[in-house]
């Protein structure tokens, strides 16, 4: 568990730290420091399009060494105070020693041990879902219940609602506090209906600011079943008061901390895929040291597609994961941002590529999928969650070489269409929520892709069955 005293110390460093505007941090400090360390450690131009799953583990180790030094030089910018929270290299190393390598979560038959993993680890990674995708209030319980019908979905996170008792939830207002309470009620209903009242929990979705967590996290968290608090940060190498609010509240509840969401963007301030690897690792290290995160949760996206499934992004995420998994016992996940919607082949192929690439590289768990990029309300169904959970677990013990071979094939199925992803169908048009069964069309798509993956060497079970 994180320490309140340490958190207050970091808050104090935010108050007293050196001043830096957000603009200077993004446009000068990040790019210049990043370039300096890429050069110093000979890490420029290492991206290899033939290995979207990185095969060079010594290279990954070098990225880690550089990121550790870079993190100690930079620190995190607190955007509310426009000051830099500085920590020393020794403090980072100590934080990495102190961080847990496993968490026991959940109750009864749903009790699990979330464990740190290494590249090519045979231990099963844990699949969590759904993400905080918006659904109508009346669909929350059946959709969530349907997702939990797969026993391979082992932690519950979302979905989200944007109304509370039919009234719009305005961000930064008491509506968010109210929705924090409301989603806990709905999650409990879904868990009971799915026969899984002891599900491990991540929360709170449905609220942009800290109000949702303040409203609901303590209701979901208990001494017997500590929940993981979702603490999103603005972007790479930045944090804010909202993250501190959530972290402090979780400490007060004896919950766990998931401090992430600080994505590095290929094409953005960190520049190249190589630059993003560096800032992504540095960000995770600082989230553990400054916000005392229990799990590492920032990933790399490709700004050109707003996705982590492009060839460049897959490579960058696998290098960063391997670097962190080999050199620490942090429990990692690297979110996959799929762009296609339900009832399309693309959502399944991109989910498979991201799941396989991250699982073999050493993530402890994965949450997802981000169906239709999270852009449209009600565009998520249980089936893509069942599918992704199966693929993810089936990737345990696979070699990096085999994973690369499969991912290269998967890229050939969707890569050209990344700029124009099909939006698919809302849940009401491709999934029967009364009997929790996909439509014939959606089931056939899943069967086809499953067969294809098996033919390419992934030993996955059939996800596409009626669950009620």
């Amino acid at each position: 568990m994180a320490s309140l005293q340490k958190m207050v110390e970091m808050l104090h460093r935010a108050k007293e730290g050196p001043f830096c505007t957000e603009k200077e941090w993004e446009q000068k400090v990040i790019p210049e420091t990043n370039r300096k360390y890429l050069k110093k450690y000979d890490l420029e131009r290492k991206y290899n399009p033939e290995t979207p799953v990185n095969q060079d583990l010594a290279l990954a180790d070098r990225y880690f060494e550089a990121a550790l030094e870079m993190a100690a030089e930079m620190g995190l910018l607190c955007t509310d105070t426009e000051t830099v929270i500085k920590v020393s290299k020794d403090e980072i190393i100590q934080a990495l020693k102190d961080t847990p390598d496993h968490l026991v979560l959940g109750l009864y038959r749903d009790r699990i041990t979330l464990k740190a993993r290494k590249p090519e680890d045979k231990a099963l990674p844990v699949f969590a879902g759904p993400l905080c995708i918006q659904v109508s209030e009346e669909l929350f319980v059946p959709v969530a219940e349907g997702i939990l019908k797969s026993k391979k979905v082992r932690i519950q996170e979302g979905p989200s609602i944007d109304t509370v008792f039919g009234k719009p939830v305005y961000s930064g207002s008491p509506y968010e506090t109210a929705v924090g309470v409301r989603v806990v009620e709905l999650k409990r209903q879904a868990m009971r209906r799915a026969g899984r009242p002891g599900m491990p929990q991540m929360a709170i979705c449905s609220s942009t600011t800290e109000y949702g967590n303040l409203g609901g996290f303590h209701l979901l968290n208990s001494k017997e079943n500590p929940a993981i608090s979702i603490i999103l940060n603005p972007s790479e190498l930045k944090t804010n008061y909202s993250a501190f609010h959530k972290a402090i509240h979780a400490i007060g509840c004896d919950g766990y901390l998931d401090c992430g969401g600080a994505y590095a963007m290929i094409g953005g301030f960190s520049g190249s895929p190589e630059g993003c690897v560096l800032t992504n690792i540095a960000t995770d290290l600082l989230m553990f040291t400054i916000l005392q995160s229990d799990v590492a949760a920032s990933a790399i996206y490709d700004m050109r597609f707003d996705s982590s499934c492009s060839r460049h992004a897959l490579w960058a995420n696998t290098v960063a994961t391997q670097a962190e998994a080999r050199n620490t016992h942090m429990m990692l996940y690297k979110l996959i941002n799929q762009l296609a919607g339900p009832c399309t082949e693309e959502i399944l192929y991109t989910s498979a590529a991201g799941s396989i690439a991250t699982a073999v590289s050493g993530v402890a768990f994965q949450i997802g999928p981000r169906t239709a990029g999270g852009r449209f309300k009600n565009y998520l169904t249980p089936l893509e969650h069942w599918f992704m959970a199966e693929v993810f677990e089936s990737s345990a013990g696979m070699t990096l070489d085999k994973a690369n071979e499969i991912v290269l094939y998967l890229l050939s199925t969707y890569e050209k269409g990344l700029k124009d992803p099909p939006e698919g169908k809302p849940v009401t048009q491709c999934f029967d929520l009364k009997i929790l069964t996909p439509s014939k069309e959606w089931a056939a798509i899943s069967e086809k892709v499953t067969k294809d993956l098996r033919a390419h060497g992934l030993p996955m079970d059939e996800p596409n069955v009626s669950r009620k």
Binding site: E26, Q27, S171, G172, S173, E176, T208, R304, F376, D420
Partner: protein
Amino acid sequence: MGSKEEILKKILDAIIAGDIPAIETAGKEALDSGINPQVILEEGGSKGLDIVGEKFENLEMFLPEMLAASEAMKALNKMVLPHLTAGGLAKKKEGASVVFGTVYGDLHDMGKNITATQLSLHGYEVHDLGTNVSVKEFMKAADEKNARIIAMSSLMTTSSYYQRDMIEHLKKIGKRDQYYVIVGGGVVTEDWAQTIGADGYGRVATDAVKVCDLLLEGSVKPGTGTIHVFQGSTKRHGATKTYYKEVE
């Protein structure tokens, strides 16, 4: 003094390099040698920006370099726009002030930053209000900056409600016909933009430029029910080819 082509090439190179002193020298040289201001902007500045865009797509240039190019383009606009006398760009010059922010309760800024950069690159005077901006703050800034466009970004559904509040507020205070309101961001769709009565909607950053150009160069007044929608695709929620439609 070099030939017309040589001078325009200097401008183009300075834009790509984000070199403000070089753009000031080349811009002055272009004006002094009597090159049509519209040609300076289009064949020097805009062409340079196209190359910046291509380089970004190929991961040869990144956001910091794009921002530097945007600053260079701003410097060029500042020198050349006052010399325009007629035509679309001149019309744009008269009303090219945009107040831009991420709405209240929403701290996401990446999409807003990229879109603001695109607008700056294309000659707009962008007043970036940052994130977590209330309706009241948008209103105050729009009045103070004499803006014509209020651009509101929102990543979350729960914050997009403030886009509707902005439009309702403008109606209440009798200023709906004074400001164009354009909306965009993660969860914001064409449907939402139409529902709340926005004047424009774009799916991606470059769409915003096209939307603003249409609003300022066209004859449609704010809040009349016509919406310019660019989302780069022939599909409803897609993202590649450019097209627009007007809904009366």
